[in-house]
C-alpha cells in the first residue's frame, strides 16, 4: 500500500511538471533550447569563400536543405571525421580526398534530411554523382569536392534532387550568405550555431568564421554533427591539418550529449589565404581558432536533445591527461550523474561511482569533488564543509561545473555535457506514439 501510494504521488508530481512544461511551451516562442544563445552572431566576411543555399526537397519541404561553399584556388583544407566503423559514404569520400593538392579551388556541398549512411554501394555511387556534378559545374577537379549528408540512416540519397539544383546554387553564390548556410544544414537542431573572430597578427587582420549543426550525437533517426570553419589566413595544408587534429581533442572531441557517436561526424577547416597574412606558428591565430571551435562545440551541447543544463566536468590531478579525460568522460556520460543534474540534486555519490568505473587511476582517499565553488567530498568522504542546502541551491543554475581533483599527478581534462531529462526520452522514444 505504501508503495502504491508513493507511485501515485510520483505520477501526480510528474503530471504537474508536464503541465508546467506544457504551459511554458504554450507561452514562449517555440521549441528553442533554453540554453541557446540569444542571437546568431554577426560573423566576419571571409575573403575567398562564397556560400549558397537552396530548397532541393531532399526530405524537408519549404526550407533550404542543401548548402554549397565555394573556395578560391590555393585554399588549404583540413578535416577530422568520425572514427565509427560504420561511417557514411560521404565521410569515406572526404577522408580519401583530404591532404591532396591545394593549388586548385575547392567546394563543399552538404545536404540535410538524409545521412547517406549504411546505404551500401548505392551510397558510394550517390556521393560520386553529386560531387562529380559539382566539379563539372564549377570546373574543379573531383578531388577538391567535399560533401556531407546528415539525416535519416539507411535510406537512398535522392541525388537527382541535388544535382538538379547545382546551377541554381552556382548562380546564388555570395560572400555574405554564411548565416543561411548555417541554417540549411540543420536537422533537429533548435537553433543555428555560428562563431567568428578577428585576430590582429603583426598589425594585419585575419578573420575566422564557422558554423555547426548537431543536437544529440544522433537525433531521432538522424545523424549528426557537422561543422565548417573558414579563415582568410595563409596556412599550409599540413600545418592546418595538424592544428585541427590537435584542437579537435579539446573541443569537438570533448563534448558528449548521450555517448552515442554518429556515422557522419565531420569537422572541416578551410584557409583561403585571401588576407595575405601568413599565420604559420602564430599562437594568436591558434588561440582564436581554438576559441571558435570550442564555442561551436559548446553550442552543440547547448542544443542537446532535451537539455536544460550545460555542465563542464573538469578533472585535474590525474596520473596523465588520458586518464583525466577517461574520468571526465565517465562522469559526463553517466546516466545517473546526468539524471541527478536534471533533478538539481547535488548527488556526489554518483560522481564517485562514475569515477570508480572509469578505469582511471584513483585513490579513494585522495579524491576531492566540488560542485561549482562548493566542496562536497574530500579525503575519501563527505567534506566537513559540505552544505546540502548550498549545493542544492547551486544546482538550480543552468550552467554548472563539476570539478574533481584526483590528487595523483598533473593530468587534466574538461568534458562538456548536458543533463538527461524526460525531454530526451520523449524525443527519442515517444515520437511514434
Amino acid at each position: 500500500m505504501g508503495k502504491k501510494k508513493a507511485k501515485i504521488a510520483e505520477l501526480k508530481a510528474k503530471i504537474r511538471l508536464l503541465k508546467a512544461d506544457l504551459a511554458a511551451a504554450q507561452t514562449h516562442t517555440g521549441g528553442v533550447s533554453p540554453l541557446a544563445p540569444s542571437v546568431f552572431p554577426d560573423l566576419p566576411r571571409i575573403g575567398g569563400v562564397r556560400f549558397a543555399t537552396v530548397a532541393a526537397g531532399v526530405k524537408y519541404a519549404d526550407r533550404d536543405d542543401v548548402m554549397l561553399a565555394e573556395l578560391t584556388s590555393g585554399s588549404a583544407i583540413a578535416g577530422v571525421f568520425t572514427r565509427s566503423a560504420t561511417r557514411s559514404a560521404p565521410v569515406l569520400d572526404c577522408q580519401a580526398k583530404i591532404g591532396g593538392s591545394s593549388d586548385e579551388g575547392a567546394a563543399i556541398i552538404v545536404n540535410s534530411g538524409n545521412a547517406n549512411a549504411f546505404t551500401g554501394r548505392n551510397g558510394t555511387e550517390a556521393t560520386a554523382i553529386v560531387t562529380k556534378a559539382v566539379a563539372k559545374a564549377l570546373s574543379l577537379p573531383e578531388m577538391r569536392i567535399f560533401s556531407a549528408s546528415t539525416g535519416v540512416i539507411g535510406e537512398p540519397l535522392p541525388h537527382g534532387r541535388m544535382t538538379a539544383k547545382i546551377a541554381e546554387l552556382q548562380d546564388k553564390l555570395s560572400a555574405d550568405d554564411i548565416a543561411s548556410a548555417a541554417k540549411a544544414i540543420m536537422t533537429t537542431d533548435t537553433f543555428p550555431k555560428g562563431a567568428g573572430a578577428e585576430v590582429s597578427i603583426g598589425g594585419k587582420t585575419v578573420r575566422i568564421a564557422g558554423f555547426a549543426k548537431g543536437s544529440g550525437m544522433i537525433a531521432p533517426d538522424m545523424a549528426t554533427m557537422l561543422s565548417y570553419v573558414f579563415t582568410d589566413a595563409v596556412l599550409d595544408q599540413v600545418e592546418l591539418q595538424a592544428m585541427l587534429e590537435s584542437l579537435a581533442d579539446t573541443t569537438f572531441n570533448a563534448i558528449t550529449v548521450d555517448s552515442d557517436t554518429s556515422t557522419s561526424d565531420t569537422l572541416m577547416v578551410a584557409a583561403t589565404g585571401a588576407s595575405g597574412v601568413d599565420v604559420t606558428g602564430s599562437e594568436a591565430f591558434r588561440d582564436a581558432m581554438h576559441g571558435i571551435l570550442r564555442d561551436l562545440a559548446h553550442q552543440v551541447v547547448r542544443d542537446g536533445e532535451g537539455a536544460t543544463k550545460f555542465v563542464a566536468v573538469q578533472v585535474s590531478g590525474a596520473a596523465d591527461n588520458a586518464d583525466a579525460k577517461r574520468a571526465a568522460r565517465a562522469i559526463a556520460d553517466s546516466p545517473l550523474v546526468k539524471t541527478a543534474v536534471a533533478g538539481e540534486d547535488p548527488n556526489w555519490g554518483r560522481v564517485v561511482m562514475a569515477l570508480g568505473k572509469s578505469g582511471a587511476k584513483a585513490d579513494r582517499d585522495r579524491v576531492a569533488i566540488r560542485f561549482g565553488p562548493h566542496p562536497v567530498a574530500e579525503n575519501g568522504w563527505v567534506s566537513p564543509d559540505y552544505s546540502e542546502g548550498a549545493a542544492a541551491a547551486y544546482m538550480k543554475n543552468a550552467e554548472l561545473e563539476i570539478t574533481v581533483d584526483l590528487g595523483l599527478g598533473t593530468g587534466e581534462a574538461t568534458i562538456w555535457t548536458c543533463d538527461l531529462t524526460h525531454g530526451y526520452i520523449s524525443i527519442n522514444a515517444d515520437y511514434r506514439s
Copy 2:
C-alpha cells in the same frame, strides 16, 4: 508556430501516457516491475547453511534489513567483486579474505539501506566492528566473516544498530529462511530474486539455491547488485573460485541496466559439502550453476529501473569473443537503442550506429541485423526482406532479441539489457521534486 504546436501535442501525449500509468498504478498491486516472475521460486534446502534476518533500523523502518547466513565448517567460499576504483569498505574486506582456509565455519552478514561506500577510514572501521562481533558470537575466525552493505553512498554505517542485533540473529538461525534473506537485502528492488536447482550426479542429488538484489547498477542514492548462491556440493575453494570467475563472465558480467557500475557489486558462492557428493569436474553441476547465475542475473535486468522490455543482444561472427562482447555491450548500453526499444521502434539505424562506435572490428557490407526473426539489414543496407510493419509488431513484445552477425569470424557474445524509459528518468531525476 509549427514547432510550438508539435511541442504541445507531444506534451499532451505524454500527459495521456502518464495518466494511463497512474491509472495502472492505482489498480494493480503496486510498483512491481511488469517483467517480474509471477512468484518467488520454491528453493531447495541446502544442508550446512542457516539463515536469519532482523529489523535493525539501519535506515528502513518496519522491515528486516540485516541478513546473516551461517556456513558449516569446511565450506568452500568463492567471490567476485566490482572492479570499481572507489569500491566500498566491505568489498575491500571480502577481497582480502577470499581464498583463505576452508577448515572452519563461516558467515556472511549483509545490511541494506547504507552502502558503507566512500566513507573513508570510518567505513573500514565499521566493517571491522561488525565482522568482529559476528566472529565472536559464532566463535569463528574473523577471516571467515564476509560482509556487504547496500544503500546510500557516503553516510556512516550505524554499526551499533547491527551489533546490537547479532544475538537475536544467532537465535533465529534456520535452514528454511532463504526467502526472508532474499527480501532483507532488497533496497529499491520491486521483487525478491531467487533461483534454485537439484542436479543428479552419479545417482546422488546435489542442490543449489541462491538469491540476488539489484535494480539498476545503482538505484537512487543507492548501491547495488548483490548475489549469494549456496550449494551442498563438495568442491575445493580454488576450483569453486575458478568456476565462479568463468561463469560470471556470461551471467552477471553480461547484464547492463544503465552502464553505471556500482561501488559494491558482490557475487559469492558457498559450497558446504553437506551432500557428500564431490562435483569436481562435473559438467552437469557446472551447467546447473551456470543456469542459476544466469537466472538471477536476468532477474536483476527484469527489475531494471523503469524497465518495460527485456532485451537479449546477441552478436556472432565477430573477430573474437572479446570483440563480440564489445559490440553487444555498445548496443545494449546505447541510450538511443534503449529509447528506440522503449518506443517499440525497429530503428536498426541506431544499432548500426552503436556497432560503429563500439570499437569492434566490423565491415559495413558484411553486417546482418535481425530483430527477433525479422531480417532488417544485410550487405551494408536495409534487407530486401525487411517489413516495417512486421518489425514494428515484433517490437511490441515484452521480451526481445536483437541479433547481429558481423560476418568476420567465430566470436560471439550475448548481453542482456532493458529499455530506457520515462520511468528511469522519474526514479533518478524527479525524486527530489
